[in-house]
């Protein structure tokens, strides 16, 4: 601590911004020292910001420090590829190597902060798992080819499938963290091949109902700071949207009444006015209580009994001037997501609140806007895996981890005749793919993201792609040429964007809409067995966070690899804390470490999704059993 001047900004950051004071300054005068004075290490999901606000460099970035001189680095702006906030940041590059990422101030988006996953996920760009050359499976072995041959093989194989089975036999799955330009060309390629099976909502289960447009936040992000009433449904706010949670936390200090309907009583590090914590299968009934108490106009609530907490929530939402109802990732991934959607919409209408979605992917809104969605007669992401296609083209995604039912996705992909994968990484898709095409990672490609508030943010490439990797939009364009499809002759990424979004943000605004119709509220009876809560852990969110060792080493990273249950459930089942436990679901089983988390309701076990060990279990929600090893 020889550089520390005891300004205590890091301590105040914990108190005032991160919401938990994990750093303190024991000692007096010259003997004062900054240290984590509680028993544990610093666990905040925003901890990296103390590096930026330390005025003297006493607190440094462990993965970065002493590896480069700051004045040798070029600072290039980009946009975070993780959650839907679209945090502005800069990557620092020397000799085509990304050394670190720092925030870029934008009061309307991330203010001056950056979540740890935005800050440290650059490690994945330099990961050993990068796919550095096009590869094709030849007689069960992977061989490296040059681009021309690899693209010709991919195009040839796709043509064969189309001729033998028709375009509809091909499924197109994209990650919602690809750029707008890439997603536009991807869906264009699908449609040109005669397939309407194109989707980026890989972690969803419920696609029912008639939707008015692309789901978005329903308001500018900055407006969250001025809310005075808010209902958050099905969101592990801090882990899912670290910086949105920070905004709401500041708003709570200014008088926001935060109401929460969720499947886990997570510590939001701020005062929660009212909460309803129920098992996942009880979420619809819990939200129906609020809807009924609020006098929402929606059918099917006759038998619902309103609890005191629901009544208080409805009263909270009816008072106040600036209010919002927000649906989080758990609500969006819920098996009855459309019912939650319809109920939340009805509550918002009845209380005069704004209504929106906390979008958990950097470009999910963009994917919707450029219609990376199934068309007439096409299959959505879940249907493409439920009824296996003959062939799949996968852009950036890892379906065997990320899909709503990961086991089913894997089975479908394994049974396919052809799987073409465009990915920056040597993913597990290599087990079943036939063609692997290396594409640029984030910060290596130019493009745009559409954030959850509908903000179009374009960026240039900050570094050249590693190895033989090429920006995905170029790969898709050339693949279109190889397939002799019309409309694949763009020369620049700007041309692609102009084609995808002719009027830019105006085009986006015209396609946004949170309305839903044609949904009946029926899932009003909670289950009785032990249930899985299959959230995406904060650092298993996407291919980048999974490959960032710094993130995996944090407490959140470790917790994201274990199953969690309340102390009473663990005692009832005679299990041991911090010991392996056998988890069985849908006839599959796996072994995970069991940790205690008393924030969970009884009979709910948090078994993370997107985790290799848990991926064979299958659906994110459903009944499961725990057994002692």
């Amino acid at each position: 601590m020889t550089r520390c001047i005891h300004c205590s900004r890091c301590v105040r950051f914990g108190q005032e911004i991160a919401g938990m004071m994990e750093l303190g300054m024991p000692g007096r005068g010259e003997h004062m020292e900054v240290m984590p004075f509680l028993a544990h290490q610093v666990t905040s999901e925003l901890s990296g910001n103390v590096i930026d606000l330390c005025p003297v460099g006493a607190l440094t970035s462990k993965p970065f420090r002493f590896s480069a001189r700051p004045w040798e680095l070029s600072r290039r702006r980009t946009i975070s590829p993780h959650d839907g906030l679209g945090a502005n940041m800069a990557v620092h590059v020397k000799g085509n190597h990304v050394f670190r990422a720092t925030p870029v101030e934008n009061e309307a988006v991330n203010e001056c902060w950056l979540a740890d996953r935005d800050r440290y996920s650059y490690q994945a760009i330099n990961s050993d798992e990068r796919l550095l050359a096009p590869m094709v499976k030849d007689g069960g072995h992977w061989v490296e080819l040059d681009w021309r041959k690899a693209l010709a093989q991919a195009a040839g194989a796709l043509k064969v499938i189309r001729e033998n089975h028709g375009g509809d036999a091909i499924g197109f799955i994209a990650s919602p963290r690809q750029t707008v330009e890439e997603l536009h060309l991807f869906q264009k390629l699908a449609r040109a091949l005669g397939s309407e099976n194109v989707d980026s909502r890989i972690d969803r289960a419920d696609f029912s109902g008639t939707r008015a447009g692309v789901e978005w936040l329903g308001m500018p992000v900055a407006d969250l700071s001025g809310l005075d009433r808010c209902l958050v449904v099905g969101s592990s706010l801090r882990k899912e949207q670290p910086l949105v949670a920070q905004r709401l936390r500041q708003a709570v200090k200014k008088g926001l009444q935060l109401n929460v309907v969720h499947a886990a009583d997570d510590d939001l590090l701020c005062r929660v006015a009212n909460k309803l914590i129920v098992r996942p299968s009880g979420l619809v009934e819990a939200l129906a209580q609020v809807a009924k108490a609020a006098g929402a106009r929606i059918d099917g609530l006759g038998t619902v009994a309103v609890s005191a907490a629901a009544q208080a929530m409805a009263e909270s939402l009816k008072s106040g001037a600036s209010k919002a109802v927000l649906l989080g990732a758990v609500a969006q991934q819920h098996p009855a997501a459309a019912q939650l959607h319809a109920l939340a919409q009805a509550i918002a209408e009845a209380t005069g609140a704004r209504f929106g979605f906390l979008v958990d992917s950097a470009d999910q809104v963009g994917a919707g806007v450029v219609n990376c969605r199934p068309g007439q007669g096409g299959a959505h992401a879940a249907a493409m895996f439920a009824e296996a296609k003959k062939a799949y083209v996968i852009l950036g995604a890892e379906p065997e981890l990320e899909a709503w039912n990961s086991a089913q996705a894997r089975r479908a992909l394994e049974s396919a005749e052809l799987v073409v994968v465009l990915s920056p990484f040597k993913t597990r898709t290599m087990d079943y793919a036939q063609v692997m095409l290396p594409v640029a990672a984030y910060a290596e490609t130019a493009g745009s993201y559409v954030s959850m508030e509908g903000r179009l943010q374009s960026f240039r490439a900050a570094a050249a792609p590693q190895g033989e990797a090429r920006p995905a939009w170029k790969v898709l364009r050339v693949l279109g040429n190889q397939l002799e499809l019309p409309g694949f002759d763009q020369d620049t990424v700007a041309q692609v964007l102009a084609e995808a979004l002719p009027q830019g943000e105006a085009t986006i605004a015209g396609r946004l809409g949170n309305g839903i119709a044609g949904v009946a509220v029926t899932a009003l009876h909670a289950g009785t067995g032990i249930e899985r809560l299959g959230e995406t852990p904060i650092y298993q969110l996407d291919a980048y966070t999974r490959r960032a060792p710094a993130l995996q080493a944090t407490a959140d990273g470790q917790a994201g690899q274990a199953a969690a249950a309340s102390g009473s459930l663990i005692a009832r089942l005679g299990l041991s804390i911090d010991k392996p436990v056998k988890v069985s679901q849908d006839g599959a089983e796996t072994v995970l470490k069991l940790v205690r988390d008393d924030a969970l309701p009884d009979d709910v076990v948090r078994v993370p999704a997107c985790l290799a060990a848990a991926s064979r279990l299958g659906a994110r929600y459903g009944e499961l059993t725990l057994e002692k090893m």
Binding site: I5, H6, M25, G27, R28, G29, E30, H31, M32
Partner: protein
Amino acid sequence: MSVPYTGPKVCLWTLDHPNPAALETYVANGGYAALKKILAEKVPAEKIIEEVKLSALRGRGGAGFPTGLKWSFMPRNYDGDKYVVCNTDEGEPGTFKDRDIVEFNPHQLIEGMIIAGYTLGARAGYNYIHGEIFELYQSWEKALEEARAAGYLGKNICGSGWDFDLHAHHGYGAYVCGEETALLESLEGKKGQPRFKPPFPASYGLYGKPTTINNTETLASIPWIMRHGGQAFLDLGKPNNGGTKIFSISGHVNKPGNYEIPLGTPFGDLLEMAGGVRNGHKLKAVIPGGSSAPVLPADVMMACTLDFDSIAKAGSMLGSGAVIVMDETTCMVKALERLSYFYYEESCGQCTPCREGTGWMYRVIKRIEHGEGRPEDLDLLMNVGTNIAGRTICALGDAAVGPVQSFIKHFRKEFEYHIEHKKCLVGS
């Protein structure tokens, strides 16, 4: 004035009685009468403040701020909790008067705090007691119990329908917690570091509520003023310096201890009461108001009377009345080294000039004392001092500088001798 002083005493008069701390002793000698009278006659707060202003009672903790004026800063029509806090965090080296008040006359302090609470519209009061004298905390709690049992504290005090209660809190011996806002932070359970002012405690004090903080001796003087009138208190001392004051005399005297004498008593009289300088030595220097006060050479001090104005005129301060006497055998460099060490250890570390400067000054003085001084060191010390004083949130920085600059000013020769000859002028 006769030596020893035999006139009326304000605070330590109970020592003339057997069983001085007992409630009975206090009540038998007119204790709690003033409180009963105020409650029975519902004396308006303005009138009490007027009386305190008339008495010219000045803060006994060191700053000498007029108490009546301080009380009048409290918002009159504030609709919410207000607090009275007593500062018994007697951390100033050389001071040991407040502990004697709490130990030997706790009920007068309790009565003073109740009257203060009544006057200022507070519902609760706290006494923050120095952590290193834990027995005091216990005896204070015992006195509170006695007062509660007798109906002077709690609900419906003396049948007046007015509620007020007192609580004790003990610190852990940090010097800086004697600073009023650091004391409030500590009382709130936080790290004891002074707050930036303004807002002053009168508008934003304990838990953000209007708060008045007074020294133990100040609050203990209130009942006497109410009983005998502000004019009588003023007449004890001299104009603008009302009342008697306890002087804690220590150092090279034959009879160190607490002496309660009127303000304006010549220093020579106090020295005589304390039995004179030990072993017939010659007086060399005196720190008249606790370690933070600038030192005064013997001749200057002997010409002073002991009151706020006279000592301020001589270039020091009466402070908390801790008179530290040094005779001719004292090495001033060594004495200053010890004082600087204290401030170095006790700086809270919040403000850079104080945190870094106190350590710097200590190390420079240490090297002078140990024969490693350099000719430029004295100017360096003066310069560092100038860059601390007035540049910190609280007065601890100034307090650390006071001794350094005054020691060098008055005894520069000794320091120079140390630097030049690498040994002490006094012993050689």
